[in-house]
Symmetry: C2
Subunit: 217 residues, 2 copies
């Protein structure tokens, strides 16, 4: 249906969209590391295919069709990541690049099988929601750990950032999705939290706690 290249543009448009669903050519260009004129001409092509709304000098917006296609690509990406972690034993920080390639495979059966083997998951190993087969996303409302109060006990549910370094940081601190966190104290000066989990108490900087999304209990 779409080329890997087109799929990458759609995915980037989707993830870069602000509240109004707008993305600038410049942002897209930086994200994809592709020069602006190239991005520009691709946007015209995607506009011809009714995937984006394009008007010269205006921000870009995905059409409904574009959003759906993008969500389906994201779905494949996240299912793949999850499969690699859960079924093949890769670490969080290793899976992104592999998933970026596998997401473009033309084989519905392959993704269906992964979904099945994973038990139809709703959230990926990074805690991000996985769009369903029709491209719908169930957005769950999580709080930042940094916004929680002393004495609360919460469960690590997602991370906002999936940089290699951050994922390695999580691994090295034995922080995993589902880990129960008990907030023992908060340093009011810099927001550093003393958090107890796995029967140990550790310090988490504000920089880290802002990237951790939690749910109650």
């Amino acid at each position: 249906m779409f080329s890997p290249t087109e799929e990458n543009y759609l995915k980037a448009l989707f993830t870069l969209s602000n509240e109004d669903g707008e993305v600038t050519v410049n942002e897209l260009s930086k994200k994809l590391e592709i020069k602006m004129p190239t991005v520009n001409s691709m946007m015209k092509k995607l506009a011809d295919k009714k995937l984006v709304h394009y008007e010269t000098y205006k921000p870009l917006r995905l059409t409904e069709k574009g959003k759906k296609e993008a969500a389906l690509i994201l779905r494949k990406h996240r299912l793949t990541e999850m499969y690699l972690v859960e079924k093949m034993g890769f670490g969080w920080e290793e899976v992104h690049n592999i998933a970026e390639q596998i997401e473009h495979l033309k084989s519905p059966e392959f993704f269906k099988k992964m979904d099945e083997l994973l038990g139809y998951p709703k959230v990926d190993p990074h805690g991000s929601p996985i769009p369903d087969g029709s491209g719908k996303i169930k957005w769950v409302q999580y709080r930042k750990l940094s916004e929680c109060l002393e004495g609360e006990t919460v469960t690590l549910a997602a991370v906002t950032n999936s940089s290699d370094d951050f994922l390695k940081f999580l691994n090295s601190h034995e922080l995993q999705l589902g880990t129960k966190l008990q907030i023992e104290s908060i340093e009011s000066y810099d927001g550093t939290m003393m958090v107890k989990y796995n029967n140990k108490t550790k310090a988490l900087s504000k920089i880290a706690s802002e990237k951790l999304l939690v749910k109650e209990r």
Copy 2:
């Protein structure tokens, strides 16, 4: 290192090679379903890269370097097929197309992991040998079932042909690699064999028994 396109040419050259390692432009063109002039220009390109020996109006031959690269691609293909069958529960007839795509992924870790999870197999689900990590192939000598004699008991080890229809035929007859076959009788007129396996006796035509490779016991 090489583009998916180049890899496909290398793989085709490898599998089409006759005893002398020769392949004609025409054969390659038919196999890949790509017109001869395109194949021709790609051969010049691969010759520049020292992957094939090319002289005008002469048959093509892979260089040692070309053979090694081709074997490594074949290795990825077969490891993938095996993984899909053994670990994901796909049927033999479903895996070829998926493996054709996955074999081109740029991720040594991914193939290493599959190899590991599969226990470093030497033969793929079709019974074909899997080249090792350095591109070497251990050729095992199998006999055709059609050449066996009445009373022999042999083990199905490989198939010579992986067409969809043939793989479905095997499935529908509960024939799998490793199945023990006891040859009860052979019809001398047309070579049809009565073979006992899985506690049932079935008739196998000569057309089928010529495609089945077996080993002793």
